[in-house]
Point group: C3
């Protein structure tokens, strides 16, 4: 497992991390097996959110299953998120002081820990008041409840607005990225091309921005074809892509999921891949992509096979 010091922090982190959004219904044994498998693969970083599994459900499930001692807890990086509020009529977002601080308290209680290593703002609140976020972060930091802060699904402009008041470095931006859902990479390859959907800017150039400012991109849904529409690995909807993946997997003697992982870890932005699977073998397989040295030719072949234009 390749590790690196997360810029802006003193944390040494793996470039493949374990997302726990789907563990709410798992047994203690299954959770322990999943986490143990990840740890064995070198993954000592878990990704939570207050809303995963309902009201802190996955955080609580994790804590109850793992029953970590303080020293065990200190061995891992625990990241959680706040800012999304489910409701009867649909979602809303809330970055108010009270909501953020309250949700972190809820996460700490559910996780049975004194601190989060990293707190991410889950999705940009259209009604954000950056002064309030700054106040919340200051209080969470000074109370020792959160060590580092970041965002998720944020554009450069939204981050700049936060930074007008937030003094802590924003160390991560968790964004949807897979070989097939790759606009944040593909747009820049084909900018300024009339009539090409791939040329359409959907993120304000967030990849270059994050690289420029040493904000680590965490790729969520790394194997999803679209927005929770199913995985592309093995899907008959992506025959050309899977053919290339399978060929490279055979050549490198790894499972296909390792190649899909490596397509992200190979990128020089030094991203982290957030696994969403609850299947231990997939975790092991994906971990094999942590340091797989895809060549430029292979990386671009995968990119083209996913349907992206290389003009």
């Amino acid at each position: 497992m390749k590790t690196f010091t997360l810029p802006g922090t003193e944390l040494v982190v793996p470039n493949v991390v374990l997302g726990l959004m789907r563990i709410a219904e798992m047994s203690d044994d299954d959770v322990r097996h999943l986490v143990r498998t990840a740890r064995d693969a070198g993954i000592d970083f878990v990704d939570h959110a207050d809303i995963y599994g309902g009201d802190h459900g996955c955080e609580r499930r994790f804590a109850e299953a793992m029953r970590l001692t303080p020293s065990q807890r200190a061995e891992i990086v625990i990241q959680s998120k706040a800012g999304i509020v489910p409701g009867a009529g649909g979602l809303r977002y809330d970055f108010s002081y009270d909501h953020l601080v309250g949700q972190v308290d809820g996460s700490l209680a559910a996780l049975g820990t004194d601190y989060l290593d990293i707190l991410l703002l889950h999705r940009p609140d259209a009604l954000v008041e950056p002064e309030e976020v700054a106040r919340a972060f200051d209080d969470l930091a000074s109370a020792g409840k959160v060590r580092y802060f970041g965002v998720s699904n944020h554009t450069p402009g939204q981050i700049e607005l936060l930074k007008k008041y937030v003094t802590q470095p924003l160390v991560a931006n968790q964004l949807q990225l897979s070989i097939t859902h790759a606009s944040l990479i593909a747009q820049g390859v084909s900018a300024n091309m009339a009539g090409e959907d791939q040329a359409v800017d959907r993120d304000g150039g967030v990849l270059d921005y994050c690289r420029l400012h040493d904000i680590t991109i965490q790729a969520w849904s790394p194997f999803q074809a679209g927005f929770f529409t199913g995985v592309f690995l093995g899907s008959p909807d992506h025959p050309e892509l899977n053919a290339v993946i399978d060929r490279l997997a055979a050549a490198y003697d790894v499972p296909p999921i390792a190649v899909a992982t490596a397509w992200i870890t190979r990128h020089p932005a030094q991203m982290q891949v957030v696994l969403g699977t609850t299947t231990p073998e997939r975790v092991t397989g994906a971990a094999q992509g942590s340091d797989l040295p895809l060549t430029r030719a292979e990386w671009y072949e995968l990119f083209r096979a996913a349907g992206h234009l290389v003009p």
Copy 2:
């Protein structure tokens, strides 16, 4: 009426202002009634443009109907715009020194005043030479003809280019914004989503940029569904949205137009709503939305009811 000191100026302004683009054919009495109604509601800020009602037609109509004494004129903020040139074959834009200075002189003559409080560049001139704009602004400012400057329909990049030479602060950016025509808010909520039109960047992140740089956004066509395609209020094309508006209007005991106004004034960017109506009752109704304290849940419910995705 909620008021605030317009950042970059010493003007105390209301967050709902009276746009006068449609008064060219109104009688003196009707103009006076409209303006008096606005003043009674606390609206002491009028929005003009050289081209409204033809060649300074609305500016002249306003002046002839109001016949303001110097002290009456000093009580209100008069904003006008220049830069659009109608022509037989279509519009063009012109930010040349001669055009800008000449149009301001024309506006001052038509308005019967010595100065504009604010001059906006109406639409970005593709052939802009920022050095010329700077020279025009300098001369207009030093001659006492214009107190403050701003833009309309400008992107962050266009503003940055102007600021390379313009030394006065650009205090306002007038942009189309309503619950339904809300890309400048909605894009940021769904950035980086493949296949979603809402994710498409159409403005370079102008909302965050203006907040970051203390440029006040003025929302034009605040009740229009699209680009002058008709209002959404009461329209059978927007049943879900109107149902929510009507319910909230009843709950707050205000007319529906106040809720539509409040959706904009509630936003923490502290925008101004530019009314385009010539109906006094609508002005009164909209003014009731100046300080209506929509909750986050209500604001997001309106947003979703207008068809925007909250992923």
Copy 3:
């Protein structure tokens, strides 16, 4: 021929330059005639790329046909590009140190010269490591192999990322631009308009960015309707545009191609037009657009006639 000192350099350059991507199969005489015609028109700037005509084919063809003495070579500005790698399955990009330095060496050998005046990174490499580019540029500059550096088809974010490490000024950005393929101008005219394709950001505001940072835009495919889909000049697909072009050409007593050229040279960004033609008469005709003083009304009429919205 209008000339100007290319910002960031000591080069005095024409605003119309000769692109040599299509000379691979031309005879010595034809190449010499083409270049002589350009020189007679004041065009002393040629645009190459390593991949034009295959592996340095056009560069070699140029050198073999011209057999320039050192003093003749010093009379002209030679620009080339690197970074695109053709392959059996499609293109890829490669901004690695070894590739860039190797390709420049190949270009120098093919061109029979000791130095390139300008080297452009041809298309953005998704796997760019700006530290490597910086190292390559440093070594190429200190070895005297390249005098100045620039990019092609790059967005503002990509340029900013390069500038994080590259210390030389990036003096040019070669981008596709013609009256019909004009998103980089047209988007800004109609930003924030829902439902209008013209409002869609495809380049991150590269025009304003380049003007702001004194990066000269070089317009490639200046007469192409789309992405190598054929020229619009004289095309029955563009009757309205050609009618305006022909009328203006007659009025100014120049060929239509001069008007199409002037639409670009008239823009205050002081761009260069990169001709792709191998027909000497077209070069002569285009050169007549170098300093043609289109009025604002004429420029906008051409813009509207090409189908762009001026709202």
